[in-house]
Amino acid sequence: MSEQHNPNRQLIDNVLALDRLIHEPARLAILTVLSSVDWAEFSFLEDICALSKGNLSSHLSKLEAAGLLEIEKSFRGKRPLTRARLTDAGQQALQQYRIQLAKLLQSS
């Protein structure tokens, strides 16, 4: 059997094609939440994704460094306010990930 028609090979290719940065469950939840809204405050992401402040902060930094989202920091009175927004690149990467995931789920 040729390598191209080997179903195991195709499955492995599909697994390898998944974006590892997005595949992490917490980061996937953050991107999914942000994909349906204009922006979201840090406290909402913390609440809906069931993450600790430190964990969320670390995931947001990774996603920001990859250019998938933008972080906007400001103050409301003396309280720091952090807002996250998905970039166009982030939107595309998430769509691409979902396509790859659907393929993988079909082939597995």
Binding site: E24, V37, D38, I48
Partner: protein, 223 residues
């Protein structure tokens, strides 16, 4: 290589998370909930108080503060009740933007017509020389498009806000709406706002419990 310990996410769960967040975000702009109920209620109170109770200037001024009270309570409800888990900005569609623009332009046209009619009748000097309750009528009319543009995104909020501001302008100027066609229309609009508000609020209560379930599932996955 992708970690073998990371389970494959369920596309249905992701869709649900997306949908719930979108519904939560609606309470920033396009869903009023209890603020629409309050708007309708205040509109009815204003209408019947001005219709049935003889009012002095001070009482009329207090009654005319209803739109301001409503706007403050609307903002407070949004910040401290509907989006208490954190603010989320709604992604508004092009049609929602268009609808909002047209409603604002419509109110602006009415507002300009009222102010222009005042200028035509009294002139600039005459308008400035009017007693303050009459001036307030023109001031409220002039402010209406700005308030619609800034705060009144949902249909129910638009109806409640415009009904309240129209009544405030008329009441502070010393008059009131009567129980004629326009009065019945105001009552019907107030009831409609309350109906929509209750429906949106019930949807919010369902949303909270659905969000709670999703959070628990995510916590379970993390554990």
């Amino acid at each position: 290589m992708t970690s073998t310990t990371t389970p494959l996410p369920n596309l249905g769960d992701l869709d649900q998370l997306q949908q719930l967040t979108e519904r939560y975000a609606r309470y920033r702009n396009s869903a009023g909930g209890l603020s629409s109920v309050l708007g309708g209620l205040l509109s009815l109170v204003m209408f019947f108080t001005a219709l049935l109770v003889p009012l002095a200037t001070v009482e009329r001024s207090v009654l005319a503060l209803a739109p301001l009270l409503w706007l403050l309570s609307k903002e407070a409800l949004r910040r401290f009740y509907y989006q208490r888990s954190g603010a989320v900005g709604e992604k508004l569609s092009a049609s929602q933007h268009r609808q909002h623009l047209w409603l604002t332009l419509f109110v602006a046209a009415v507002s300009i017509a009222i102010v222009a009619a005042g200028l035509w009748k009294f002139g600039v000097g005459g308008l400035l020389a009017l007693p303050w309750p009459k001036q307030s009528y023109f001031l409220i009319a002039a402010l209406m498009p700005l308030i619609v543009w800034r705060w009144l995104w949902s249909s129910s909020d638009f109806i409640a806000g415009v009904c309240l501001m129209c009544q405030a302008a008329v009441i502070i100027a010393g008059s009131n709406y009567r129980l004629d066609f326009l009065g019945v229309y105001l009552i019907a609009m107030a009831l409609l706002c309350m109906f929509y508000g209750v429906r949106e609020h019930r949807d919010y209560l369902n949303l909270r419990s659905e969000l709670h379930q999703v959070r628990q599932r995510l916590q379970g996955n993390a554990a």
